[in-house]
């Protein structure tokens, strides 16, 4: 963990200020403020329809906010020229909820595409690097030549993660990464995320519902509720926040089970 060494939180790589997102009459975010700090894994939780995915989409620039400012790596995405924007987008990786692998390409070609297009590697070099990324996410070599339609849900997730990691991004956005993985696969995913974060000082913005993932990997947790970030802090602080939804979330049957499991692993008493 990098943020405890100096006693002072590291700089924010993503700053969201006064973000509003409205769809017609329906408002999803009102005056939302949020920081993501360098090197942290931030878990974003919230009820269904609380606008977690919308927040992710407006940070990566897929959605133009109705009002407010999003700064990523000290640059405001919406004001950049297309070339600067492409430059910035090279430094982020996004894992979409359904994987969003290109269905006309094989898995290896999917991962090699950004390497060929952006890093200008030859096809052979790109394929080799892609094979390593694929192996890192735990897929067998034989999966590389399959098309996305031939993969199971869990394999699609892993392949999509490998593609998001293709350019060794500074910031990784994950939309429900462990949904649809079996518990063993999900635990391996958590471990992989920690290894990668430690190796590259990767910043991770993760929308998740997986309480085990929250307990194992996240440095801070942001709770989206009532159209803004209700609280963003360490797990202990968030779990102690007096709010009906948060109490239900962390102290309901599943929340308690995850806390006990985490305490067993760490050898402490559950919070």
């Amino acid at each position: 963990m990098t943020n405890n060494k100096t006693g002072q939180p590291p700089e924010a790589v993503i700053e969201v200020r006064g973000l509003c997102n409205r769809f017609g009459q329906h408002s999803v975010h009102e005056n939302l403020d949020m920081d993501v700090r360098r090197g942290e894994i931030l878990g974003v939780v919230g009820g269904s329809g609380s606008g977690k995915s919308v927040l992710l989409r407006s940070i990566v620039g897929l959605l133009r906010p109705s009002a407010g400012r999003v700064t990523m790596l000290h640059k405001e995405l919406q004001t950049l020229t297309p070339a600067e924007r492409a430059q910035l987008e090279r430094r982020i990786g996004v894992l979409f909820q359904q994987g969003a692998l290109f269905s006309s390409l094989t898995v290896l070609e999917n991962i090699a595409l950004p390497l060929i297009e952006h890093a200008r590697l030859s096809r052979r070099d790109a394929t080799h690097v892609a094979a390593v990324k694929l192996a890192l996410t735990g897929l067998p070599a034989s999966a590389g030549n399959l098309h996305p339609a031939d993969l199971s849900g869990g394999m699609i997730k892993r392949a999509a993660l490998a593609r998001a990691l293709a350019l060794d991004p500074d910031i990784l956005f994950l939309d429900e990464p462990t949904a649809g993985l079996d518990p063993i696969g999900a635990a391996a995913f958590d471990q992989l995320l920690l290894t990668l974060r430690d190796a590259f000082n990767l910043t991770v913005f993760m929308v998740t519902h997986d309480l085990d993932t929250l307990y194992t990997t996240c440095d801070r947790i942001a709770v989206l509720s009532q159209k803004k970030v209700l609280v963003a802090d360490t797990l202990e602080v968030v779990a102690a926040t007096q709010d009906d939804w948060i109490q239900e979330y962390f102290h309901g049957p599943r929340g308690r089970a995850a806390a006990v499991a985490d305490a067993l692993v760490r050898g402490t008493t559950p919070t």
């Binding site: 269905s103 006309s104 390497l115 890093a119 200008r120 590697l121 030859s122 070099d125 080799h128 690097v129 094979a131 390593v132 990324k133 694929l134 192996a135 890192l136 996410t137 735990g138 897929l139 067998p140 070599a141 034989s142 030549n145 098309h147 996305p148 339609a149 031939d150 990691l165 350019l167 060794d168 992989l192 290894t195 990668l196 430690d198 190796a199 590259f200």
Partner: protein
């Protein structure tokens, strides 16, 4: 960033320890990949004290140079390697070991082209059988629905009739109007040499009533509606919506295919009639404006054309309608799992239905001629 030649970033010392230096990262991958080791087996230890950067691309290169096994052996004892980078190297090495063997690529053989021809012929035959099976299935469901009027789906039928029929009226009418004018010009040019310009009217009348009206309307629908049917049903297949219907005990044929087939069966004859009128109107415009044939004269000549030609032309419309709708729906059901597959089958639906329409029209023309109709 250093601009050293790659070989200096990778130095094998006399004591069999491999020294890494500089950035081993993706931007320098191309440069670094030129470095090579003569014999990776002799490396006894790694020295990374002058390594300034490492990412998965760099780690991938090390795997390529040393092999995953020796990297896994060397990384734990490497000198000057930070814990994070060591963890990365170990993660990459063990992942590469765990991934299993690379599948062998199939080599091209001499008989492959011949095998391809065989496979194409076989798949054509299978397609035909599949189409006949689908036709039978649809007829069976239709027959089973006939005595149960409470299960007829009027809303779906009317919606499809609007989409496939009513919305196509402007384009079908315009297309036929233009072709009608072109045929009239063509007739005028050829017939003027024989002083028989007046027969231009007959040419347009016969052509559109017997052949052109229904043919153009059917080709238009093959392009417009067959593709829409395939894309609609295909996307439902991709989303597992068809499976969702099945497990709820609903018959996709009854819900999706029957309304579409019936809608075309009703609308194509009407569209054909519109097409015939528009074509003759196009011809009439040319006749009136540039051939000095008065509208009354034009109508008089058209009235002399026996009505059976109109009936013969229109009799083909229901047949075309069923073929177009069935091909469109069947191709939709053949879609497998991806957006690309939807595209492939949509193309195939349009090509097949236009081909079938023209083929059937040619056969019908032969048949009518033999029957002296």
């Amino acid at each position: 960033m250093t601009h050293l030649p790659a070989q200096q970033d990778l130095v094998l010392q006399a004591d069999a320890s491999l020294h890494l230096q500089g950035d081993w990262t993706l931007p320098r991958y191309k440069l670094l990949s030129r470095a090579s080791l003569e014999d990776a087996g002799v490396v006894r230890s790694l020295d990374a004290s002058r390594l300034t950067g490492l990412d998965t691309a760099g780690a991938a290169l090390l795997v390529k140079l040393l092999g995953a096994e020796s990297l896994q052996r060397l990384a734990p004892t490497a000198i000057g390697l930070s814990e994070e980078r060591r963890a990365l190297l170990l993660a990459v090495a063990s992942a590469m070991l765990a991934r299993g063997a690379e599948p062998k690529a199939r080599r091209w053989r001499l008989g492959d082209a011949l095998a391809d021809v065989g496979a194409t012929v076989l798949s054509g035959w299978h397609n035909l059988l599949q189409f006949l099976g689908f036709l039978g299935l649809t007829l069976l469901v239709l027959a089973s629905l006939l005595p149960k009027p409470w299960r007829w789906r009027y809303t779906a039928l009317v919606a499809q009739m609007q989409q496939a029929g009513l919305n196509a009226v402007p384009i079908v009418a315009l297309l036929n109007f233009l072709v009608g004018a072109v045929v009239a010009f063509l007739g005028a040019t050829v017939l003027a040499e024989f002083g028989a310009t007046i027969y231009t009217v007959d040419l347009v009348g016969y052509a559109f009533m017997r052949e052109m009206g229904v043919l153009l309307a059917a080709i238009m629908l093959a392009g417009r509606t067959a593709s829409a049917y395939t894309a609609q049903i295909g996307s439902m297949k991709v989303n597992e919506e068809i499976d969702a219907l099945r497990v709820q005990g609903l018959d996709p044929i009854e819900l999706l295919v029957i309304p579409r087939v019936l809608a075309l069966l009703i609308m194509l004859p009407i569209l054909s009639f519109v097409a015939i009128l528009a074509g003759m109107l196009g011809g009439a415009m040319v006749a009136v404006l540039s051939l000095d044939i008065s509208p009354a004269r034009f109508l008089g000549i058209v009235q002399e054309i026996p009505l059976k030609h109109l009936y013969l032309g229109m009799s083909k419309a229901p047949l075309f309608a069923v073929m177009i709708a069935l091909i469109g729906c069947l191709e939709g059901f053949k879609v497998k799992g991806s957006a690309e597959s939807v595209g492939e089958h949509t193309t195939s639906a349009v090509v097949q239905s236009i081909f079938v329409v023209i083929l059937l029209d040619a056969l019908a023309a032969l048949f009518f001629m033999q029957m002296d109709w």
